[in-house]
């Protein structure tokens, strides 16, 4: 998905879209590219198949959290970009808090059809993807980056309604 289309989806979400007062540093641009590229390869964020192996999802989320921490260490802590990375990292923590790590009842039984663990797991996964979608859209629009279609599936939906509320 092209960044111009992503920017159209950011109705009501504040982001510095390359205005006069804001100029991305080379450091931030390359970090943003790395983040998008890394997340494009994280199936836990978009693939229905991955949902069948909860323990893989847990490991993948742990990897994402470590990656975001390492990227944050290279950035200006006060930037909008860093705030998005922190928000995504917090979403990872929340997911792990709810689901637990290997051996937790949720991770063990989430893919057992009809088990209560699936309520926890899929609810937490949906929340994680929703949070990442919003912040990825902000990052892509901010740095004019395209996102692969699979990962783009978690971006916020386009507002099809006109200003008068009609579709």
């Amino acid at each position: 998905m092209k960044f111009s289309e992503i920017a159209n989806r950011l109705t009501g979400i504040s982001t510095p879209l390359g205005g006069v007062s804001w100029q991305a540093t080379e450091l931030e641009v390359s970090a943003a590219r790395r983040v998008v590229s890394f997340l494009e390869d994280r199936r836990v964020l978009y693939a229905p198949d991955e949902m069948e192996v909860p323990s893989h999802c847990v490991h993948s989320v742990m990897d994402i959290r470590h990656f975001l921490t390492s990227e944050l260490g290279k950035l200006d802590a006060g930037s909008e970009f860093a705030a998005s990375l922190r928000a995504m990292r917090a979403a990872c923590r929340k997911f792990l808090d709810r689901v637990g790590i290997d051996g937790s009842e949720v991770a063990l039984y989430a893919n057992h059809r009809g088990h209560w663990s699936s309520w926890t797991f899929y609810g937490a996964l949906g929340e994680l993807r929703g949070t990442f979608g919003v912040h990825l859209a902000r990052i892509a629009a901010q740095f004019k980056l395209d996102i692969e279609d699979k990962l783009a599936s978690i971006l916020p939906a386009k507002d099809e309604e006109g200003p008068d509320g009609r579709a």
Binding site: D97, R98, G100, E105, V106, Y109, H112, G114, H115, W116, W119, T120, G123, A124
Partner: protein, 152 residues
């Protein structure tokens, strides 16, 4: 003239609240308790006119909302526990709504799993009845084994 509005209360006089965990025993379940949560009060000009319960029911096919009468089925309904705060109550109901329509499973997702999961912030759940059944079954099997061993 000031008309005092009606708000439902339990037998002990305490006012009912959203998120209260209710327990009822149906004769056909032979003492196994059924649980649900107060989902919503439907208010009219004179106060609460109806109470809706959200529960996970085998008979209703899973997590659904029913009327008080459908939940009680003429039996005495007791309050088992109450949310610790208004925020907790909102969280309980939000979690309960998030699994509306999910199917019932006696061993993996029954009425007790459902209410316990909602009360625990959607992180864990247990079924006391199921656990008691497992303990009872194990003790019965052990007793049977000892009896057979002693007879031999």
């Amino acid at each position: 003239m000031l008309i005092e509005k009606f708000y439902p209360r339990y037998a002990n006089g305490k006012q009912m609240g959203i998120g209260d965990e209710l327990v009822v025993s149906y004769p056909e379940l032979h003492g196994i308790p059924h649980r649900g949560l107060i989902y919503r009060f439907i208010e009219g000009p004179l106060g609460v006119e109806a109470i809706e319960i959200i529960h996970n029911s085998k008979g209703d096919g899973g997590v659904c909302v029913v009327s008080w009468d459908d939940f009680a089925q003429g039996q005495t309904v007791r309050c088992r526990r109450r949310p610790s705060s208004l925020e907790h109550a909102r969280g309980i109901i939000a979690l309960a709504e998030s699994v509306l329509g999910h199917p019932y499973d006696a061993g993996k997702a029954n009425c007790e799993h459902f209410t316990d999961w909602c009360y625990n912030g959607g992180t864990r759940a247990k079924s006391e009845t199921l656990e008691a059944g497992v303990v009872f079954g194990s003790l019965a099997a052990l007793g049977l084994g000892i009896a057979v061993f002693a007879r031999d």
